[in-house]
């Protein structure tokens, strides 16, 4: 894949873009020739492998490739941040998981270590010189709750691993809005950058592309979206994943009522913050919690497939049952297609939260004290009160009764936006590169995470992370899921000549390098 005008770069971050623009011809053509791109004046960079996203999905992928012997010079990571945990930390912090709080991830899902050993629990025990966490991880979930790592531990250890694998030398900042097939094989990934001298573009001519772009944005419940669109009120109706500290500040200044929507893990976090503010910071907040589907007890007719549930919440330690990551449920799911797969995913996943004792205690206490109440129903309307200092939510219960809930704030804790067509790169991929959607409406991938219909011989295009939910693997949107996907992709890449399969000898020797913090 060498063209006459190829720009050869030695290290990432120094790839220089050009002023060339995407011509109408390029925009309309699904299969690009080298001449098309050269004629548009867009500089071309040759590199075998490009990962788009530069978040934790890209990080997991590159971590495996580096351990598989792929040199820094053969990898480019394209995204808008040099720190792989930046977006994750932003969303986690907004949803009330600061660095000292614990994530919903298990001890062996170690983001900075492809083996999962030593685990987070062992490392925390070692660093704190305390056997407490070892005891917890050995007795979980029977005598103790599942160990989960502190957010800060994850960020700091990823930072160390990023240095070890030469991450910064591979990252090139800028947005990728299209990946098109190349005449003659492989792909062009076009990166756009805003620089002081104006917008520049670069075309990465590569054989392999990996996409790990995460969620396109935050999602609002339709009635709340409609309220925000109609009133322009972005202050009183907020999403748990967007910055909303002003809500907590206001609630500390004066007694308020807040309506929480949603019953997943994020809602649990928000409730914890609201209750903590009452006990620790003197807030006088009254919490109304609105459920659309109320889980009154265990879910499932069969004793062999019954999820614990109570007080409105469906309980499981992680977003899917543990066996979905590597046990029998992973095997079951991989055998299913279409609706059957969507059905099993729905039963294992859906809205659920972790059964943490501290959260249950807080809810019991707050209920007894009268500042937490649950309501069940569907929302008919959301409107500002005549005085403008509150919002009224009109709900209808399943029995047909109508209620009104007055609140100063509404926190939507129902999730993130996952529609593919809301993302420019994904929309372009479906229009021009042959990608399609799965039964969940997300990106259709093979069990090895190759995006179906996008092969450009001898090139391959892969995707991992949240955008592939609905495929053959349930836990795609998790640390371990990102690593699982990365391993599948790395194996496939090795079969196609990029890097080596990590077999026992390489695995052990690479692990020993990791232990000594030596580069792969």
């Amino acid at each position: 894949m060498n063209g006459d005008d190829t720009v050869i770069v030695g290290r990432g971050g120094s790839d220089r873009g050009g002023q060339g623009d995407l011509t109408d011809h390029l925009i309309e053509t699904s299969l690009w020739t080298d001449q098309d791109v050269e004629a548009a004046g867009i500089p071309i960079v040759d590199v075998p492998f490009v990962s788009v996203g530069a978040g934790l999905g890209s990080f997991a992928m590159v971590d495996f490739l580096r351990s598989g012997g792929v040199p820094v010079g053969e990898i480019r990571v394209l995204g808008d941040s040099i720190t792989p945990t930046e977006t994750y930390e932003y969303l986690a912090t907004n949803s009330q998981i600061p660095r000292h709080e614990r994530l919903r991830s298990d001890s062996g899902s170690v983001m900075d270590n492809i083996w999962g050993f030593p685990s987070y629990a062992l490392r925390e025990a070692w660093s704190k010189r305390s056997p407490r966490r070892v005891w917890q991880v050995v007795t979980e979930p029977i005598l103790d709750e599942y160990f989960t790592p502190q957010a800060g531990q994850v960020y700091e250890s990823v930072e160390r691993e990023a240095k070890r694998i030469g991450w910064e030398d591979m990252v090139v900042l800028g947005y990728v809005r299209m990946v098109r097939k190349r005449h003659g094989g492989g792909y062009f990934a076009v990166q756009t950058r805003t620089e002081p001298r104006g917008t520049t573009r670069l075309a990465y001519r590569c054989r392999f592309v990996h996409l790990a772009i995460g969620y396109p944005g935050v999602a609002f419940l339709p009635d709340l979206q409609e309220y925000r669109d109609r009133t322009g009120d972005f202050t009183r109706v907020v999403n748990a994943y967007e910055p909303h500290d002003h809500v907590y500040e206001e609630m500390r200044r004066r007694p308020c009522t807040v309506l929480v929507r949603g019953s997943g893990i994020v809602a649990s976090r928000i409730l914890q913050r609201l209750f903590d503010d009452r006990t620790d910071r003197g807030a006088q907040t009254r919490v109304v919690h609105l459920f659309r589907n109320y889980v009154a007890g265990p879910q499932g007719d069969s004793a062999r497939f019954r999820r614990p549930g109570a007080n409105g919440f469906a309980y499981q330690a992680f977003n899917f049952p543990k066996a979905a990551w590597g046990g029998q449920l992973r095997v079951d799911l991989e055998k299913l297609d279409g609706e059957g797969r969507a059905e099993l995913l729905g039963k294992m996943g859906g809205t659920n939260t972790a059964p943490r004792r501290s959260w249950k205690r807080q809810i019991e206490q707050a209920t007894a004290d009268g500042h937490y109440e649950q309501q069940v129903g569907s929302v008919e309307a959301v409107e500002p009160t005549p005085t403008g200092d509150a919002i009224v939510t009109r709900i209808r219960t399943s029995a047909g009764d109508r209620h009104e809930i007055n609140a100063q704030f509404i926190i939507d804790a129902t999730g993130l936006l996952a529609r593919l067509d809301e993302h420019r790169l994904m929309a372009d991929l479906m229009e021009h590169t042959g990608a399609d959607t799965n039964p969940y409406g997300r990106l259709d991938v093979e069990p090895n995470f190759e995006v179906r219909g996008t092969a450009s011989e001898p090139g391959r295009l892969y995707a991992s992370g949240s955008m592939t939910l609905g495929g053959y693997y349930a836990g795609v949107d998790s640390f371990l899921g990102l690593q699982y996907a990365a391993l599948q992709i790395a194996d496939d890449l090795a079969d196609h000549g990029l890097g080596k399969r990590i077999r026992t000898a390489r695995s052990v020797s690479q692990w020993w390098r990791w232990m000594r913090n030596r580069e792969p």
């Binding site: 062996g108 492809i114 083996w115 999962g116 050993f117 030593p118 685990s119 062992l122 991880v137 050995v138 007795t139 979980e140 979930p141 029977i142 005598l143 004793a303 062999r304 497939f305 019954r306 999820r307 614990p308 499981q316 330690a317 049952p321 543990k322 066996a323 990551w325 590597g326 046990g327 029998q328 449920l329 992973r330 095997v331 699982y484 391993l487 990590i502 026992t504 695995s507 052990v508 692990w511």
Partner: protein
């Protein structure tokens, strides 16, 4: 690692044949004085490797039972603690079978020597299964413990 049925069996057979066998060779000489009664190293190895054969063979039946019980767990997992405490019933059954002359005749089973061997071997297997296995076999934990 969240096991599948075949993963359970494969992991058990592999660990008994490798880690447990090596550990037994190492600890054998230390068991001689514990066994007492004029037992020599060959008697101790006869006893200890007999126990390993039973852990492997009878263990397949145990794994079927564990897998059945696992079906009643929503997470379809097998907590680490279960992997440790199941050593107790398994040890009792192995002791009884050895005493009954299976898989071969070892005479009267010296309780102390058997207990030290079985408990330490079980612990070593458990420790290796909860960490180092992932280093040697990077796909193992994603495949429910399957090695093949």
């Amino acid at each position: 690692m969240t096991p599948t049925l075949s993963g359970r069996i494969q992991t058990r057979l592999f660990l008994v044949a490798t880690v447990a066998a090596v550990w037994t060779l190492i600890i054998g000489p230390a068991l001689v004085p514990i066994a007492g009664g004029g037992a020599g190293i060959s008697d101790v190895y006869r006893l200890a490797f007999g126990a390993l054969v039973l852990v492997a063979v009878v263990g397949i039946a145990w794994e079927l039972l564990y897998h059945g019980l696992q079906q009643y767990r929503w997470e379809k997992d097998w907590p680490t603690l279960f992997g440790l405490v199941t050593g107790l019933p398994e040890g009792i059954v192995v002791f009884a079978l050895l005493s009954a002359g299976l898989p071969w005749d070892v005479g009267d089973v010296p309780t102390d020597a058997f207990t030290v061997h079985f408990a330490t071997t079980w612990l070593v297997i458990w420790l290796v299964a909860n960490g180092p296995m992932r280093v040697a076999f990077i796909r193992w934990r994603f495949r429910g413990g399957q090695l093949l």
